[in-house]
């Protein structure tokens, strides 16, 4: 057991602290090649991660980079810098700490490259940029430790894959650098360890004391929740009461739009004028900084937020977490609850607020899962190849490289451990020539091979373009929003381009909690003025759309079999009872399908419980089949538990739509044509470098990229169906938005047992779907019909007769 140097134990003593067990263990194992610490928030993780660095630097002062720290959030990097500065200043250590993110001014960035600090706090994207410089070997010379914080949040995302490829490069430059991962509680620590470690190395896993069990319950509200939607406005009085009773409350939402609407309504009801802020990823950085600073100073009683605050920043005195809307998966819920645990030994307190009646059931099942410690885990797929392509280009920026070496490096990264040489070569070929079956314009290859087999950029100037487009986060489709003023007013944040396109002068919408009025679009910026008196149109923001996990869905179906609603509030119990009387409740081993007529349309509702993405895919497949059978579908809407299709014709034999062979065959054809594939293609094509979001001198608008990516997709499907990007898109889509795996799982589960019931009217369980947003229109014969109708109407209105 290594003793703390006197200087440090003295400092601990002045603070009245003693070293935690896991901090001591981190110190003892500081020489390990790879180390993973699993600790709840507030458990002194930061110090645990940095103590060995500080001690080392105090013992032998030196120049140059010693430790690099990577976190998923820019705010976290800034926060850590704040926290670390305290011991460094108070102990007067010869340690320089700096942060480097997208927000760092370029003058400081240049200085950091020329004269690196001892400890650099950064993000995955900034690290990728750093390794792309020719002088990367000099910048990183002497690196001893690589600390990755919130690694659980990175481990199942493309950001994490890009990060570990960059870390592999770092280890190639500095073989002695050790890897340290800091993680919150997860279901499978070994998987995280594999993610962190170079293949062949071993990783020590340290489990800190998880602390007392969380205190989590559903918020008791007299008023029943609405039938559909994600808003939870009905809960506002109860939420305000909770805020008044606690010091600081975090109010989490699943989407940014929901956070905005909730915050707006909260303010309207905030009779006591409690100081409440809003924080999410689409808000302007300055605004976010203000909110963060106010939180740290303890000036806010509540913050309405999204996943932007999901990660470990140790905000002041948070003593309550409220989750608005069903949590979608248990793991995220538990990690979020951990936020209300800054003081290590008191149980975190959390309240769930279902946003609609079905979510009441979801929340109940989630509570039980937390109780029984069953966290859900989805298996991770293989390393995505689009990220590998971007990595190849990044490496090329730094100088000529040997493909064999790069291949080996990639294979040492957890996610890519089973990368085949063929796959690697396909990626290299794509980066170099575009990878097309038709070999064209060879003179204009991006990468060229030397006589000695090394690859380099044909045109060194293209390095700038590649650097401009580094990253895997899809923040496409957004436009900046500013207050209107002669020379550009205050920036408020961003909104989706799709939403901006629907705005006309005078429309109002919410951003940053204020209602603003759309004045116009100037140079890719939405200009607005302050306007308080109209009901705002709801803005849409980019943000992840989570599907309810397999585990939660299965839990709900099992719950339905028990027929005992004692645990549910009476409004929800009554609803389910009514459903049983009028129709049936869905069951695990059958697929319940209800058909009914409603307001001049025919409806079909399929209760698959496969999660939002798979249910969406099911909708697309069903309507395609219906189109083929001449059944005139007009549209559908999907939730986590069901898909509701509407059209002009009654469906008498739904089993025909779910026939397994038809589903799989139909899937193949359909896969090439549909919108989800195109969207997935656009994301992958952007990451892999086929579509450049940022061009020198000008910013390409998100919508323009949409247009050209659809054309690119169609062209490849038509002329080059074996192209790498189509293969990548397919793999992505199967797991992601298409989620065909879950659909397949559903069909297996119900094994052809279709339970079809024809109802005289809409059922209680289906009714909420009619109120759901996110309807998908079907562009079949029915739509052409409608286009012709709309055109005829316009002509009529103009007094013209065709």
């Amino acid at each position: 057991m290594k003793k703390l140097p006197a200087q440090f134990s003295d400092w601990f003593a002045t603070r009245g602290w003693s070293i935690h067990d896991h901090q001591q263990q981190m110190l003892d194992k500081a020489d390990a090649t790879a180390l993973l610490l699993i600790a709840p928030t507030g458990g002194g993780k930061t110090l645990a991660g940095f103590l060995p660095s500080l001690i080392d630097l105090a013992a032998s002062p030196r120049q140059g980079l010693h430790t690099i720290y990577i976190s998923p959030l820019k705010a976290l990097a800034a926060d850590i810098k704040r926290n670390l500065s305290t011991p460094v200043t108070e102990m007067d250590l010869p340690v320089r700490i700096e942060d480097r993110t997208g927000d760092t001014p370029s003058s400081r960035k240049r200085r950091q490259r020329a004269d690196p600090p001892h400890i650099l706090l950064t993000t995955p994207e900034s690290l990728a940029l750093l390794i792309s410089y020719e002088d990367a070997p000099r910048i990183f010379a002497g690196l001893q430790r690589i600390v990755i914080d919130e690694i659980h949040a990175l481990a199942d995302s493309k950001r994490g894959d890009q990060l570990m490829l960059a870390v592999a490069r770092l280890n190639a430059l500095c073989p002695a650098a050790r890897r340290i991962g800091l993680s919150a509680t997860v279901d499978d620590p070994k998987a995280i360890a594999r993610f962190l470690t170079r293949s062949g190395d071993c990783c020590h896993i340290l489990n800190a004391d998880p602390g007392p069990k969380p205190d989590i319950a559903m918020l008791d509200i007299a008023a029943p929740p609405p039938w559909a939607g994600g808003g939870a406005a009905y809960a506002i009085p109860a939420v305000l009461e909770q805020i008044a009773q606690h010091k600081t409350t975090l109010i989490f939402h699943n989407t940014r739009a929901q956070a905005e609407i909730f915050f707006h309504k909260l303010w309207l009801a905030n009779a006591q004028s409690l100081p409440i802020g809003i924080h999410h990823g689409s808000l302007d950085r300055v605004q976010r900084d203000r909110v963060e600073a106010a939180m740290v100073r303890g000036e806010l009683r509540a913050i309405v937020c999204t996943g932007s605050l999901d990660l470990g920043i140790d905000w002041g005195d948070v003593d309550l977490v409220i989750q608005i809307g069903a949590p979608k998966n248990v793991k995220r819920l538990v990690q979020r609850i951990g936020r209300a645990n800054h003081s290590y030994n008191t149980p975190s307190k959390a309240l769930l607020v279902p946003a609609n009646r079905f979510e009441v059931v979801e929340c109940l099942i989630a509570l039980r899962a937390v109780e029984s410690h069953s966290l859900d885990g989805e298996a991770r797929g293989r390393g995505p190849l689009d990220v590998l392509c971007q990595h190849i280009l990044i490496i090329a920026c730094a100088g000529p490289f040997d493909p064999d070496t790069l291949f080996e490096q990639a294979r040492q990264t957890g996610a890519y451990h089973d990368l085949t040489r063929d796959e690697f070569d396909a990626c290299l070929d794509f980066c170099a020539t575009g990878g097309y079956a038709l070999r064209a314009y060879d003179r204009w290859q991006r990468l060229m091979a030397d006589a000695d087999g090394r690859y380099r950029l044909r045109d060194p100037r293209s390095a700038a373009r590649i650097r401009m487009n580094i990253g895997t986060i899809q923040d496409t489709d957004t436009l900046k929003v500013r207050l209107q003023r002669n020379r550009g007013g205050k920036p408020l944040g961003e909104i989706e381009e799709g939403f901006a396109a629907t705005l006309s002068k005078g429309d109002t919408f919410l951003i940053g909690g204020q209602v603003v009025r759309y004045e116009g679009l100037r140079e890719m910026t939405v200009e607005v003025s302050r306007q308080a008196n109209k009901t705002p149109k709801i803005a849409t923001f980019m943000g992840t759309k989570f599907a309810t996990s397999t585990q939660l869905s299965a839990g709900i179906l099992r719950y339905f079999e028990h027929n005992d609603w004692a645990d549910l509030p009476s409004h929800t119990a009554e609803w389910l009872t009514l459903q049983q009387q009028v129709s049936r409740l869905p069951q695990a081993d059958k697929l319940l399908i209800e058909t009914f007529a409603h307001e001049e349309r025919e409806y079909l509702c399929a209760y698959g419980f496969a999660g939002r993405n798979a249910q969406q895919t099911l909708g697309l497949l069903m309507t395609k089949r219906m189109e083929e059978l001449g059944q005139n579908p007009l549209g559908f809407v999907a939730t986590d538990y069901a898909t509701l299709v509407w059209g002009l014709t009654t469906v008498t034999d739904p089993a025909a739509l779910f026939e397994k062979q038809a589903l799989e065959h139909g899937f193949e054809d359909w896969l090439s044509g549909n919108a989800v594939m195109k969207r997935t293609f656009r994301a992958s094509a952007t990451i892999a470098g086929l579509i450049e979001r940022n061009l020198p001198g000008q910013r390409k608008s998100g919508r323009q990229a949409t247009f050209s990516s659809d054309i690119l997709y169609d062209t490849l499907v038509k002329y080059d169906s074996e192209h790498l990007l189509l293969a990548i898109t397919r793999t992505e889509a199967m797991r992601g938005l298409i989620d065909f795996e879950r659909l397949r799982e559903m069909t297996q589960r119900v094994e052809g047992h279709i339970d079809h019931i024809r109802l005289p009217r809409i059922s209680p369980l289906a009714a909420p779907l009619l109120l759901e947003a996110g309807r998908v229109p079907i562009a079949g014969a029915a739509q052409e019909h409608l286009v012709a109708e709309a055109a005829a109407r316009l002509m009529d209105a103009a007094g013209l007769t065709p």
């Binding site: 204009w444 991006r446 629907t502 679009l521 109708e789």
Partner: protein, 244 residues
């Protein structure tokens, strides 16, 4: 709405084209984006931008799929087979940059030659491909086929009564239509009593909204738009502002 009769008759006579009149001439706007003048057996297409993907590759950026030329020529071949034109006018920006004609793959060059066989083929110069091109056919700055006048970019001071109905391209117009289901955006023809602007015929071409100030200034009130696509539709030219 006044001035209705100056538009002539507007009727959908074919399954994939909309018939209309300009300066007394009966024309058909095809769903593919081509203009068909039956009486003269003349097909007109604009803004093919062949070779665009090469330009991107040369700049050191992404290497776009090299099938754009094939795709555009296939579309043109299909249109020519359908209407059997004896004259073809390519109304400018047929090539994305001046060298593109010389850079054509041999197969594509031969393909164009095949399409040109037995036809009068006129290349009108555009801003991207000014000057004579390294390819067969006749090369002109403007062309007058009475009572119509063909040039790449619409001239704001064009006097239709003297020079004829103006037919031009260059702007790649796009119109947005709100249906009961959702909003749909398509490349479109624009015409009024003086002029016609063709949509971009080539692949990989972006577009300018009909609401844009430039297009609004060129077209009279009462101008119409014909959306391209499988089932072309005619609508009054949308006026909503959006500078994209």
């Amino acid at each position: 709405m006044t001035g209705q009769n100056t538009q002539g008759s507007l009727h959908k006579s074919q399954t994939n084209g909309v018939a209309f009149t300009l300066a007394g001439v009966n024309l058909i706007a095809m769903g593919s984006g081509a203009l068909w003048w039956q009486e003269q057996s003349l097909l007109c297409v604009s803004d093919l931008h062949l070779g665009k993907s090469e330009r991107y590759a040369r700049a050191g950026g992404a290497v776009l799929p090299p099938y754009q030329t094939q795709d555009t020529l296939l579309k043109l071949e299909t249109d020519l087979e359908a209407c059997r034109a004896s004259t073809v006018i390519c109304l400018g920006d047929s090539f994305d940059h001046p060298e593109a004609a010389g850079e054509l793959a041999e197969d594509d060059r031969l393909w164009i030659n095949r399409l040109q066989a037995g036809r009068d083929w006129i290349w009108i110069e555009g801003n991207h491909d000014p000057g004579p091109l390294e390819i067969g056919g006749s090369h002109r700055a403007v062309l007058s086929v009475h009572p119509l006048f063909f040039q790449h970019i619409a001239a704001p001071d064009h006097v239709a009564d003297v020079m004829g109905g103006e037919v031009s391209g260059h702007y790649h117009p796009k119109a947005r239509l709100k249906t009961a289901a959702r909003s749909v955006s398509r490349a479109c023809f624009l015409f009024d009593d003086k002029r016609l602007i063709l949509p971009a015929y080539g692949a990989y071409t972006g577009g300018l909204s009909t609401g844009h100030a430039l297009l609004q200034a060129l077209m009279n009130p009462g101008a119409m738009a014909i959306l391209t696509g499988k089932n072309p539709q005619i609508i009054p030219m949308p006026r909503s502002s959006s500078d994209r």
